[in-house]
Amino acid sequence: MALSEAPVRAQATAETTRRGRRRPGRRNAGSLTHPTRTAWALVSPGLLFIAVFVLVPLVFAIYISMTNWPLIGSYRFIGLDNYSAVFRDAAFRDSVLYTLLYTGIVTLPIIVVGYLMAVVVRAKRRGSTLLRTIFFLPYVIGLSVLSFITVLEAQPDSGAINVLLKALGITDGSTAWLVSGPMATGLICVLVVWGVSGLTMVLLLAGMQAIPRESYESAALDGASWWEQEWHITIPMLQRTIAMSLILSVIGSFLAFAQFFILTQGGPGRETTPIVMYIYQRAFVQLQVGAATALSIVLVIVVGLISAAQFWLLREKD
């Protein structure tokens, strides 16, 4: 890029000298190699893509959210009624509270377990690659498949979870995990930590491998223990990566859907209904697409604000 820009600049300078001062935007009109023109040419496919697949649907979604749009039949414009209804909707409020609870439960364990796994596999010792693969495998399999497996393994009397707990003498093996809100939530949280920590491990591992080995060697020479090295070197130098992992984890928890859809479908009652599941039910069970779209837009704004707050709180202070 630098090589091609040099002659262009020289030509522009010469022309300016010949014709006197010109407005920057008018310089070298018609030239395909003009930097501004080239930049537009390069970004326009991306802009077009964003306009067609993001902006237009977003504008349309905002419009739908101001109607009583059903999945079938005619609709009418109702202004901000769907938005004002959000604040009166007790079921939505419950789903927000449940999502906050779920996010609060899983976020820290995902980071801690991911960190510990990264610590275990970061050294180049025998078996590290195998362990990395094993730890990352649940993430590759995906939450949907893991959830289907869990449905089978959580069955009273016959599922592996109950058989194991019975063999250990902890329960009688007949626990119905998915018919109790707290137990289903606990099971889902364990499943999610198991399924997602692998990604956190990979992210943190990449960060750990970028830390200069000399830092640890100097600390060791100064008599720093393993824990002191972790606390004073690894964690501070992983601050950005940890922040990113945290933000990804929180966003993922706020948008959780598949595991709840497969394991509990929001039940029993509404005890395990997170926000996205509630929105899904409004759109595709109650067929109220307008109301569901308004809820989605509120969710987008809320997640955006939470992410912005996290970025601000976790920023590196120079």
Binding site: V56, V179, G267
Partner: protein
């Protein structure tokens, strides 16, 4: 050319407007069912959507239809039950509808009230057996006196019993009317000892609970949902029949008359104890209680309709209707198939697929001999009911529905007052949203 911000916004606006255009005219054209020759001599293909659950039954009828003539071919597309409403609604919104739909009768209202189905009133009026058609099915297909679907197959709930166990326990099946008789019979059967239980229910299946518990309420001419569609509310908290029905099940559970596995059974094992000769009384349907059982067990099985607290009879009038969506390309062929599916020959064969006929005149002596346990609802078709509402799935069928939550809180937790109050709130909240 310079692309300014204003131009980008203009383009986005145009794009949005363009995207909205197809959705502007939401109602599709209605086929003219009164046209000369409608429903006879059609050619081409009829695209039929059915519920996955009923595919086996309907495929038999389709195969017979396709074999009976060459000019018209019916193609079946099964759609998962849980996705049926959404898929059909999306197809209608996308203006690419099937020619005929085999739709769960409790979901018919959703589409009728959205002007998505063809008015079949004149065609149904011409059917020579119209008075023999299931009134419960037709009620769920009717709006303002117009019928938008025709009954096709029935999936009714009834109280099946094990003759042998009842005899050993000294219970006369004919005495099974009212909750006192139910409890008495269940206790006597339980006293037979071992793994023999008086009653069984899939206590963690919302669909099953709505299907087999509500008839007790309807038998007493009470309802859980009251009012006209569009202005409905729940009738739970002050409903004495609902309370007594929950108390019946609470007693069955507390006195250990139900198998413990009922607590978590989401219908994956529904009826397994009954078919294993371990349960005396079992509210369910023909497919689960009879079709899935072996010959020996079938011979032991009897059936009566379900009672309310002090008597009365009712059954859940479930099953499927056939409807022609507006915009159907081959509506004439679709109706020709519908009338074929309603013929006695096809209706008489429905029990082989686990369903029962929707025509009372099917119950001939031969049919009674062949399918003895499928006759009870046919003899009292007028006792069949299912609530006409736009929110049936939300109220009863979803895992997070208020009905299952109320049932479990009352029966397994023992909090009947709290369950009734929570049920009332849940019903009213959903019905209020469903009427937006």
């Amino acid at each position: 050319m310079t692309l300014r911000r204003r131009d980008v916004l203009k383009l986005a606006g145009l794009g949005a407007a363009g995207a909205m255009l197809p959705a502007c005219s939401a109602t599709l054209a209605e086929p003219d069912v009164t046209a000369e020759g409608f429903g006879a001599g059609a050619t081409g293909t009829v695209r039929l959507w059915c519920r996955s659950a009923t595919q086996t039954g309907i495929q038999v009828v389709v195969d017979r239809f396709n074999a009976a003539q060459k000019r018209l071919r019916v193609e079946v597309t099964p759609v998962l039950d849980s996705q049926y409403v959404t898929k059909l609604a999306t197809a209608i919104r996308g203006r690419r509808v099937p020619d005929i739909v085999d739709i769960d009768d409790i979901n018919s209202m959703l589409f009728i009230y959205r002007d998505a189905l063809t008015d079949l009133t004149p065609l149904i009026g011409e059917l020579p057996y119209r008075d023999a058609l299931s009134p419960g099915h037709l009620r769920l297909a009717t709006r303002n006196g117009h019928q938008y679907a025709v009954p096709f197959l029935a999936d009714n709930s009834a109280l099946f019993y094990n003759r042998e166990l009842l005899e050993r326990a000294g219970v006369d099946p004919m005495s099974l009317t009212g909750f006192d008789s139910y409890l008495d019979a269940a206790r006597k059967v339980r006293r037979l000892g071992g793994d023999t239980y008086g009653w069984s229910i899939a206590g963690n299946s919302p669909g099953v609970l709505g299907f087999v518990v509500q008839p007790h309420i309807w038998a007493a001419d009470a309802r859980t949902v009251t009012g006209e569609v569009g202005a409905q509310r729940g009738d739970i908290a002050g409903n004495e029949t609902v309370r007594r029905t929950l108390e019946l099940y609470r007693t069955l559970w507390r006195e250990d008359l139900l198998p413990r596995a009922n607590f978590s059974d989401a219908a994956t094992a529904w009826g397994s104890e009954f078919r294993a000769n371990q349960v005396g009384l079992f509210p369910s349907n023909y497919a689960v209680a009879v079709l899935s059982a072996d010959e020996q067990m079938r011979n032991r099985t009897g059936v009566v309709l379900m009672s309310g607290p002090d008597g009365g009879r009712a059954f859940f009038d479930g099953g499927d209707n056939l409807a022609i969506p507006r915009g159907a390309g081959n509506a004439s062929g679709a109706w020709e198939f519908a009338t074929f599916a309603l013929d006695l020959a096809q209706q008489s064969a429905l029990p082989t697929g686990g369903y029962t006929p929707v025509r009372s005149d099917v119950a001939t002596e031969e049919f009674r001999r062949k399918y003895a346990q499928a006759v009870a609802p046919l003899d009292q078709l007028d006792r069949g009911y299912a609530p006409p509402t736009l929110a049936y799935n939300l109220l009863f069928n979803q895992p997070d529905s208020p009905f299952i939550a109320m049932f479990r809180q009352a029966v397994f937790d023992g909090d009947i007052d709290g369950a009734l109050e929570a049920g009332q709130n849940g019903f009213d909240q959903i019905l209020e949203q469903a009427q937006l």
